[in-house]
């Protein structure tokens, strides 16, 4: 085909050059920020799951300390308490722990005492609560008292509150870090837009003086930086997903460690990253370009 009649030659070229030398550096910086943001999101999801798991385990269980009263032996008191607790509504299972468990708990304070079995050491009863309608600590306490048992019920409520508070802190801290990184990405794009406008002052000036509306010029930069940030977001999200997948694979069924149980569907959290990065960049570029064009007036 003759060059003169080649349709591509007549297709209008974009007002801004499609690629510039500095694009690579910008893509790298935004990709790193997106990578960090995605890792933060994965970390928050995993920490939230860990906190839910811990508090779920604690909510589902209670520990009862039973002391022998009168002529009753500790083992007999524990057996009676187990029977009473098993009959309380909302209790799935009550199980007296071996006396050795109690001995192990007090041995650090008493030392290696030979006749520990002769001491009136309280016994422990582990109670598994019903998942749907768990019995309250007060209900267990009432049932034990009604049968004349000297027992203390620990429903772990102190620990649960602490864990819930810790999980909340992790969530808020994660959100804060995420917003900080998003802000940094926006600032980087704003600086890049400003530099891009300065480097392309000729384009801005020609379009401006040829009657282009401010929004028309700003939109060129908006689209350009949205495209760059979208690509960078894709790279950053892919990198974070790969790291998350490695962590999941390295840790078997429960993830890298029990403290950070990453699930496969957590990796879906990185999917919005390219779109969000493009949106943040578009807004930052639009605002920066509009402000700079207004300065030219």
């Amino acid at each position: 085909m003759s060059q003169l009649f080649d349709p591509a030659r007549w297709r209008p070229a974009p007002f801004l050059p499609e690629a510039e030398a500095r694009d690579g550096a910008l893509i790298f910086v935004v990709a790193v920020l997106c990578f960090l943001a995605c890792l933060t999101a994965l970390g928050v999801l995993a920490a939230d799951r860990a906190a839910r798991g811990w508090s779920g385990q604690l909510v589902g269980e209670a520990t009862v300390i039973v002391r022998a009263r009168g002529g009753e032996t500790p083992d007999a008191a524990a057996a009676r308490a187990t029977e009473v607790l098993a009959g309380v509504a909302g209790v799935a299972e009550a199980r007296a722990l071996e006396p050795e468990k109690a001995y192990d708990l007090i041995r650090p304070w008493l030392g290696d005492v030979a006749d520990l079995e002769d001491l009136p050491v309280p016994r422990l009863v582990a109670v598994t609560l019903d998942d749907e309608q768990p019995a309250s600590g007060a209900a267990l306490d009432r049932a034990l008292k009604a049968q004349g048992l000297d027992a203390v019920v620990d429903d772990h409520s102190v620990w649960i509150d602490d864990i819930r508070r810790a999980a909340g802190v992790v969530r808020w801290a994660g959100a804060g870090v995420f917003l900080l990184i998003a802000g940094a990405a926006a600032a980087v794009v704003a600086f890049a837009t400003r530099a891009g406008l300065a480097a392309r002052k000729d384009v801005v000036e020609v379009l401006h003086l040829s009657g282009a509306e401010d929004a028309f010029i700003a939109r060129l930069f908006q689209l350009r930086f949205a495209r760059i940030a979208g690509l960078a977001g894709l790279l950053g999200a892919a990198g974070a997903a790969a790291v998350g997948a490695l962590a999941r694979l390295a840790g078997g069924g429960e993830g890298l460690t029990p403290a950070l149980p990453i699930a496969w569907n957590d990796l879906l959290a990185v999917l919005p990253c390219p779109v969000l990065a493009a949106l943040v960049a578009a807004v930052a570029a639009r605002l920066t370009a509009s402000a700079l064009i207004r300065e030219m007036e």
Binding site: Q3, R9, W10, R11, P12, A13, F15, P17, D202, V203, E205, V206, L207, L209, S210, G211, A212, E213, D214, F216, R294, E297
Partner: protein
């Protein structure tokens, strides 16, 4: 139009004025006044030169007309609009009625000659299929018919100058402003470019050329606005009748 700036507005009181300056002064930032107390008007279809030594304010005067600068004092009317009352929405539409050949041409190096010439049409929302033939015809008219897909860097000085002119007139502006359009071309090319302006003026475009080229001014016997120290002076470099 007379070279007497005070008489300029009275050339044809009945005609609409495309440009009117009333006591206009201009300064950049807090610097000294570049232009002082300008009073003149331009009738539609007229042809004027702006002359004066370097630093007299010729380019600044053009900038005021093509809305690239604002006056520090006075009133400017363009096509009957008080430019101080223009909004961000209306200003671009007024600019589209003005074609400008910039002193440094401002050709976009990453666009072909064709795409450079088509910029004002694309901005105005025209589709490539609608303007393709017009732009090609215009480029042929300015002698660039065989250089349409050349990049500006490969064009000679005169070719760049003609490309800048083509871009300035492609959307049939009502006013054509040219800042030193013959500064970097030889005498022969300067005459060719001048003939282009005359031709455009015959088609009804108001033409204003800021130039140092006294020979060009002397040959044309067109009205002259002569600037000295930022003021329009009745004493131009030409003798009576030269304007």
């Amino acid at each position: 139009m007379s070279r007497n700036p005070n008489a300029a507005a009275a050339i044809d009181p009945a005609a609409d004025e495309v440009v009117r300056f009333d006591d206009v002064s201009m300064r950049y930032g807090r610097g000294p006044e570049i232009l002082s107390d300008l009073n003149f008007s331009l009738a539609p279809g007229s042809f004027h030169f702006i002359t004066g030594p370097s630093g007299a304010g010729k380019s600044s005067l053009l900038k005021l007309i093509y809305l690239a600068a604002r006056p520090s004092k006075g009133l400017i009317h363009l096509f009957g609009h008080d430019v101080s009352r223009l909004t961000a929405k209306t200003r671009p539409h007024l600019r589209r009625r003005i074609g400008v050949v910039f002193q440094d041409l401002l050709l976009l190096e990453h666009l072909s000659a064709f795409d450079n010439a088509a910029i004002p049409l694309r901005i105005a929302g025209a589709k490539p299929a609608d303007y393709r033939n017009d732009v090609a015809e215009l480029l042929s008219w300015v002698g660039l018919g065989n250089r349409m897909h050349a990049m500006p860097a490969t064009l000679a000085g005169g070719e760049k100058q003609r490309l800048a002119i083509a871009r300035a007139v492609v959307n049939r502006p009502e006013i054509l402003l040219a800042d030193e359009p013959t500064a970097n071309v030889d005498h022969e090319m300067a005459l060719r470019i001048f003939r282009l302006f005359v031709e455009l003026n015959r088609l009804g475009t108001t033409v204003v050329i800021a130039t140092h080229d006294q020979d060009l001014v002397a040959r044309s016997s067109r009205p002259v606005l002569h600037l000295e120290g930022g003021r329009l002076t009745p004493r131009g470099p030409l003798g009576p009748g030269g304007a």
